[in-house]
Symmetry: C2
Subunit: 191 residues, 2 copies
C-alpha cells in the first residue's frame, strides 16, 4: 500500500533493537484519513470472503479495526488484556507472550460475541513474532468460528511471525512488509 | 441522544454495585454505525469550537474517539497507561485513581503531539467519578493547550464526577445521563 509505505518512510523513526516508531500517525496519535484508507484496502483484499466480524486486541489495534469493520459493515470486537487473576467462565481466553515487556498475559473475549457462525478477520497494527496474533487465532478456534485471515498494517519481515503463520496455512495480508532497517533510519520494504 | 438511550435500554445490562454493561455495542463489541452517529453528535455540539485534536484514554475510548476525530477532520490522540516504573522526559503524565480496580496508574502522552496551539476535545465512554477525565484534563493543561470541553457517551449522573467537573467550569456534554438504575434492570435517564 503505497500511501502507507510513503508515510512510514516520511514519519517512521527507527530506534536500536529493531524498534520502528510510528506513533505520530498509527498507534498513539492517529491519522484518521489514513486509517480509513487502510480499512478500504483490507476490504479490497478480503471483500469476497463473507466476513461477519473484525477481531483485534487492545489497545493500538482498536482504531484500525474500527475502520476495517466500517468498510465491511460488520461489528468490531476487541480482545481485552485480563486484569484479574481469575478468568470468568463466560469468556474465551488465550495466553500471549510479550517479548517487549518480558511478560505473559491472558487475553479474553466474551463468548456472547463470537460463535461458530462467524467468519472472522483478525486485525493488528504490527506483526513481529506473531504472539498476539496467535492468541487471537486461538480464540477464534475456541469459538468454533472460521478464520478468514489476518490483516496487518506493518509486518517486520525480518522476524519469523509472518513466515510461521503462512506456513501453517493462515492467510496473512500485510500492507507494508519491512525487509530490513538500520540505525541510520533506512527502511527497506519487501516487494 | 435518542438512538443511544434506546440502545442502552435494549441491550444494556445492570449488575449489582451500579455496574452498567454495554459491552455488546460500546466497549467490547462495537457497533460501528452507532459510533459514527456518536461522532456526528459531538460534532453537532462542538463544531464551532475550532477543535484541532481529539484526546482519549486507552482502551475503550479509542473507537469512539476515532469517529469523533473523523467528524471533525482532525487527528485522534490516546493517552497510554504507563507500563514501566520510569516515566520518560518527553511525555506529559498524570495520575489516575481507578476505583474499579483499586489502583492508581500513570497515563502518558508524548509531548510531540500536544502543544499550546491545540484546542482539545476530550472524549471517553463513561463518566462516573471522573478520575480518568481529570487525568486527561491535567495533561491538556500541562501542554498549555486549550480544553474546549469533554464529550462523554454515558454519564452516571448519580455519581459526582460530572457535577464536580461542571462546577469547576469544564464543559461536559454527555449523550446519555443515567439518573438511576436498579438491580431489576430499570434505567432512568435524566432529561
Amino acid at each position: 500500500m503505497k500511501v502507507l509505505k510513503d508515510r512510514i518512510l516520511k514519519d517512521g523513526k527507527v530506534f536500536p533493537g529493531n524498534v520502528l516508531k510510528v506513533d505520530s500517525f498509527l498507534n498513539h496519535q492517529m491519522d484518521i484519513e489514513l486509517l480509513r484508507q487502510i480499512g478500504e484496502e483490507f476490504r479490497n483484499r478480503y471483500g469476497d470472503c463473507g466476513v461477519t466480524k473484525v477481531l483485534t486486541i487492545e489497545a493500538s489495534g482498536i482504531g484500525i479495526a474500527c475502520f476495517v469493520a466500517q468498510s465491511f459493515g460488520v461489528p468490531m470486537l476487541f480482545a481485552k488484556k485480563n486484569k484479574t487473576k481469575n478468568i470468568a467462565s463466560d469468556v474465551y481466553t488465550a495466553k500471549v507472550e510479550s517479548y517487549t515487556h518480558g511478560t505473559t498475559y491472558d487475553i479474553i473475549v466474551s463468548k456472547e460475541f463470537l460463535n461458530k457462525d462467524d467468519k472472522v478477520l483478525v486485525i493488528d497494527d504490527f506483526l513481529a513474532k506473531g504472539q498476539a496474533l496467535l492468541g487471537l487465532i486461538n480464540i477464534v478456534e475456541s469459538a468454533g468460528a472460521e478464520l478468514v485471515g489476518t490483516g496487518i498494517v506493518i509486518e517486520k519481515g525480518f522476524q519469523d511471525g509472518g513466515k510461521l503463520l503462512r506456513e501453517s496455512g493462515v492467510r496473512v495480508e500485510s500492507l507494508a512488509i519491512v525487509e530490513s532497517m538500520d540505525d541510520n533510519g533506512n527502511i527497506i520494504f519487501r516487494n
